[in-house]
Subunit: 251 residues, 2 copies
Amino acid sequence: MGTTQLETVPEPKYWHLKTVLSEALDSEFAVGEILPNERELAARFGVARATLRQALEQLELEGRLQRRRGVGTTVAPPRVGLDIVPAPQSWPGGPGDAWQTEGYERLAPPAAVAGLLAAADGATVHAVRRTRYTQGQPVATEVLYVPAGSVPGVPADAPQEAPALPDGAAAARVLRELHRLDLEGQDRAVELGSARAEDARLLDRLPGAPVLVVTTRYFSGGRTAAVAVSTYRADTCRLTFGAHDVLPVAG
Amino acid sequence: MGTTQLETVPEPKYWHLKTVLSEALDSEFAVGEILPNERELAARFGVARATLRQALEQLELEGRLQRRRGVGTTVAPPRVGLDIVPAPQSWPGGPGDAWQTEGYERLAPPAAVAGLLAAADGATVHAVRRTRYTQGQPVATEVLYVPAGSVPGVPADAPQEAPALPDGAAAARVLRELHRLDLEGQDRAVELGSARAEDARLLDRLPGAPVLVVTTRYFSGGRTAAVAVSTYRADTCRLTFGAHDVLPVAG
DNA sequence: TAGTGGTCTAGACCACGCC
DNA sequence: GCGTGGTCTAGACCACTAT
């Protein structure tokens, strides 16, 4: 029963370090506090800096630490819970939507999205870029892909001489036209990804930072009328589905 | 407009490597194929092994590669989509449930779970361990925490002399008693974590491997009647919510 | 300019799976 | 035993932030 046996298989140093640091964070540090720098910590624990960094990386992945180049390593606040389902069935940009429109483009969607939209190769779609903020900090970016066929009311690829609409207006128009459609259902998938350069910049992270990618399909008229790909910071966010809000998250 | 400018800021080598490898995976390798070993690849690209490994780590995180000590690095199949919501509202172990019961224990829940259950410090709960398999492979492990008060029909902490039920029977009994309760609602949260030693072993991964942690709260009688903490392999899994199954995932 | 975390190197040895 | 990926070291230099 008692698991107090001696280590039969020695655990890696970085794993042990992580445990020790984790306990220290619980007992000796306050949220926002700056830890000693990496060289100092490595020396204090008698390990190489690379080994220490392996432990810090894990803790950052778990949302316990935040590291910023040129500044230092700080103790992270608990992850924020972000509701992914504002209303049972609703188009993006509807009531209760936490997103802010930030850009518009017309482009050929990435292959994975093209597959979901059953779009022809090379066909372009409306792409609305949005960002989600919490407490003034950007926590997620999103690209909403809408095939031209879903929103015939929006000027399509105008012949080059007619520059259609300014971007802000085009984005608003796409969302407005979407809301006219009958939303028959939607679909979500969550997976782990790493931030592409642009997303990383918007989220104030380095490229490759771990992110939770939420792919939402919106169905209307028997087809996929739109696809949203949302990229959440994995270190600081907890995604909630149908939060019931009975109890505060303690412990 | 055109973003074809020269690199003003050179990207890190490992980032570039990752891109190159990613493209090679798309075009030159089949799923399951074994890549050249790390020393060979590092030499081929003219970088240190550690740098190459940084690139491989990213690709593994994204589910593109699978690395196994003593074996090699293989090209991973696309992630499997696992439905998290078998039925709109249902207790664990109900119809359509993909989990297999594997163990039972009576224990004091971890602090975070105790908070969700509003359990007194030191109070023990029923803990049912379950595993989810797909194509014969374990993809997730779960611990279902049920306070004794939620299932009065299950023998509680018997005085030491009466060893209550064998584990398998106890687990089944907990689930059966749960199903008698009126399920008033449920709640889910998804976040990134790293596999604890035991979960890692069950999932055939190394400790610290990235996992998606799904926390489900089950409400009954105005309180949280049970909490399930499910740990999915982040490298191989895509979690789906209310899959609509209109289109195959192409591209 | 000083100090931080981020990248990179060239080694070494270890734990594991397979033959 | 041999080859694989996993861990670890002791350095170096770079990019960024704050002062």
